[in-house]
């Protein structure tokens, strides 16, 4: 049976992972179990290589309705937390996981606080009382270790000007520049879920890597988890693309002191040292406003919120008038102190 469920040894209820304590917790009797100490049932299972068509809840026997990517969910009939273990083993076994440290209640509070801080958000949106749903989701990511050998040739100039008599002289010194750089990046995250918006996921970074734990299925209990839609090879170009701007900024910091620098030759050899499959915690907040559903994502460790809130035209107008008015007043004051008169 590829469905794992954590039944409380005391009362038989379905246990879930609690982000506050970092332990497997029984919501009924309050029993807590240290995840590091209990054996992971995933490791003891042997799978037949058949594609499983249907999963059944081990508590009530109902068919579990899941999407093909889902690897952990809750039974829609009895609410038991279930883990679909065949979607987390073999090639699909995550190496590590960052568990949630922000609980659902804390996530709601943090989201409300974020809404209140929105400078252009409509006032009635700011009350944040229309949260339609909030889902804790472990999103599949690949963490890439990329080693780079960089060689650049270029032409640099140092320009100075001085005056002698009636003439202004511009002196330009020309240099040949060469740099050989070793540039290693570790744990560059790329989200591997097809559903998730790449731009939104990029903005959720950084995830605190000191919280990375060896993967154990109980961390998923009570949350939704997905398996990757793209493997590390498919996403390798995105990872290389992501570090491109980092490399460029390192190169330009390595050739300081010149007025202008022109690179004539730039060679970057990237080698993939390692790619780890990890699950990272994200709260998805669904919010109804003006009959439109807005979706926000929150880093399950840092509480950082990403997503486009609606923008109030009245507030834009007010801010514009305020800032422009103050700027105008300041300009007037400057021109007045310079003897230009106030009007």
């Amino acid at each position: 049976m590829p469905v794992i469920e954590y039944k409380c040894p005391n009362c038989g209820s379905s246990m879930v992972f609690d982000g506050d304590t970092g332990k497997l917790t029984c919501p009924s009797c309050g029993r807590t179990d240290n995840i590091e100490e209990i054996p992971d049932p995933l490791k003891q299972q042997v799978f037949i290589e058949d594609e499983v068509k249907e999963y059944h809840c081990t508590s009530c026997g109902a068919v579990l309705v899941t999407e093909p990517e889902t690897s952990a969910t809750t039974c829609s009939f009895c609410g038991s937390a279930v883990v679909l273990s065949d979607r987390l083993s073999g090639e699909l076994a995550p190496a590590m996981v960052i568990p949630f440290s922000i609980t659902k209640e804390e996530a709601i509070q943090a989201f409300k606080k974020w809404c209140r801080n929105g400078l252009l958000t409509p006032s009635d949106f700011m009350t944040a009382d229309r949260i339609k749903g909030i889902t804790g989701m472990y999103v599949p990511f690949w963490l890439y270790d990329l080693h780079n050998r960089v060689e650049v040739h270029g032409h640099g100039t140092k320009v100075s000007t001085y005056t002698r008599g009636d003439y202004e002289y511009t002196e330009t010194q020309h240099f040949d520049i060469y740099r050989k750089i070793r540039l290693n990046y570790v744990k560059v995250p790329i989200d591997a879920s097809e559903k998730m918006n790449d731009e939104v996921m990029d903005k959720l970074e950084p995830f605190p890597y000191q919280q990375l734990k060896d993967f154990k299925t109980p961390y998923l209990a009570g949350y939704i988890a997905e398996k990757y839609s793209y493997n590390d090879e498919q996403l390798y170009p995105r990872a290389k693309d992501k570090i491109q701007s980092f490399i460029d900024s390192y190169i330009s910091s390595a050739v300081s002191g010149y007025t202008t620098v022109n690179f004539t030759h730039k060679q970057i050899d990237t080698t993939l040292k390692q790619a780890d499959y990890v699950l990272l915690p994200v709260w998805m907040v669904h919010y109804d406003y003006n009959k439109m559903e807005h979706t926000f994502a929150m880093n399950g460790q840092t509480g950082k919120v990403v997503g486009k809130p609606p923008i109030s035209k009245a507030k834009v107008a007010a801010w514009f008038a305020g800032i422009s008015g103050v700027s105008l007043l300041s300009l007037k004051l400057i021109s007045w102190t310079m003897g230009g008169g106030f009007l």
Binding site: G156, E168, E171, D176, K180, R182, D202, S324, L328
Partner: protein, 262 residues
């Protein structure tokens, strides 16, 4: 909340209203400031300009005068204008008082400006030169009314700035100020809107492994030096072969002046 935005609105509108030019209601009994002996203007134009000169002059406590003649006999236009000042004794505050004079001589195409007392201080030779170069094109075209209007408005505007400031400094320009303020507001709103959806908080150092990264080899080889030279333009006065400076009338009244041809 709403009240705070309303307050900003009011503040903004107040600022805008504040800067609109305050219209000064003009009573009858304007004094004659336009002496159009060369008949360059129609009588309506003359009345209109006279009213304008009175109105703008009152704000600067200075008589803005315009004299047009066909020719001046045996004297320079400067001498002629000085003599006019001595004999006619114009002045906003008193006879022989604050006065700016524009003299046009048609036969010799002379355009000449003088400033007395307050106008000497606020319309120094440099500013008179600027006014002259602003009105000369219209005079050459024969568009006298436009030239005279421009003279009154510019003299009026320049006298609003303390002496020895550049009145054409772009910082003093109301449109520049409005434009800049609006641009600052727009940029601020743009940044706020852009950042409202969350922004990227990782930089090029976030994932870099500093312990194993670094520059392995570098060369900065000097090749050559090139030098270019450029002649520095010295300021050689403005205007079409005109001269500027000042002087003292035979009656002992000191003034600034600027003259040229149109």
């Amino acid at each position: 909340m709403r009240r705070r935005y309303a307050l900003w609105m009011v503040l903004f509108l107040l600022t805008v209203c504040w800067m609109m030019p305050t219209g000064i209601v003009n009573a009858d009994g304007d004094k004659q400031l336009i002496f159009d002996d060369a008949n360059l203007l129609s009588s309506e134009e003359r009345n209109e300009l006279n009213a304008m000169a009175n109105k703008y002059g009152a704000e600067r406590e200075t008589d803005f005068m315009i004299l047009t003649v066909d020719r001046v006999e045996n004297v320079s236009v400067k001498q002629w204008t000085e003599d006019f000042y001595d004999e006619y004794a114009p002045g906003y505050d008193k006879p022989h008082g604050n006065t700016a004079i524009l003299t046009i001589v048609m036969d010799s195409n002379d355009v000449h400006l003088e400033g007395y007392y307050k106008a000497e201080k606020y319309l120094d030779p440099g500013r008179l030169d600027k006014i002259r170069s602003k009105i000369t094109p219209a005079l050459s075209r024969g568009d006298y009314k436009q030239a005279f209007e421009k003279y009154i408005k510019t003299a009026h505007r320049y006298m609003g700035f303390e002496p020895d400031r550049n009145p054409d400094n772009i910082l003093f320009n109301i449109w520049f100020q409005l434009g800049t303020a609006a641009a600052i507001g727009a940029v601020a709103i743009g940044i706020m809107a852009y950042r409202s959806g969350g922004r990227v908080t990782v930089n090029s150092r976030t994932y870099a492994d500093d312990s194993t990264s670094g520059i392995l080899d570098q060369q900065d080889r000097y090749i050559r030096t090139t030098v270019t030279k450029r002649k520095i333009e010295r300021n050689t006065g403005s205007g079409s072969g005109g001269g500027s400076g000042g002087g003292v009338t035979r009656g002992g009244h000191s003034h600034s002046s600027s003259s040229g041809k149109f």
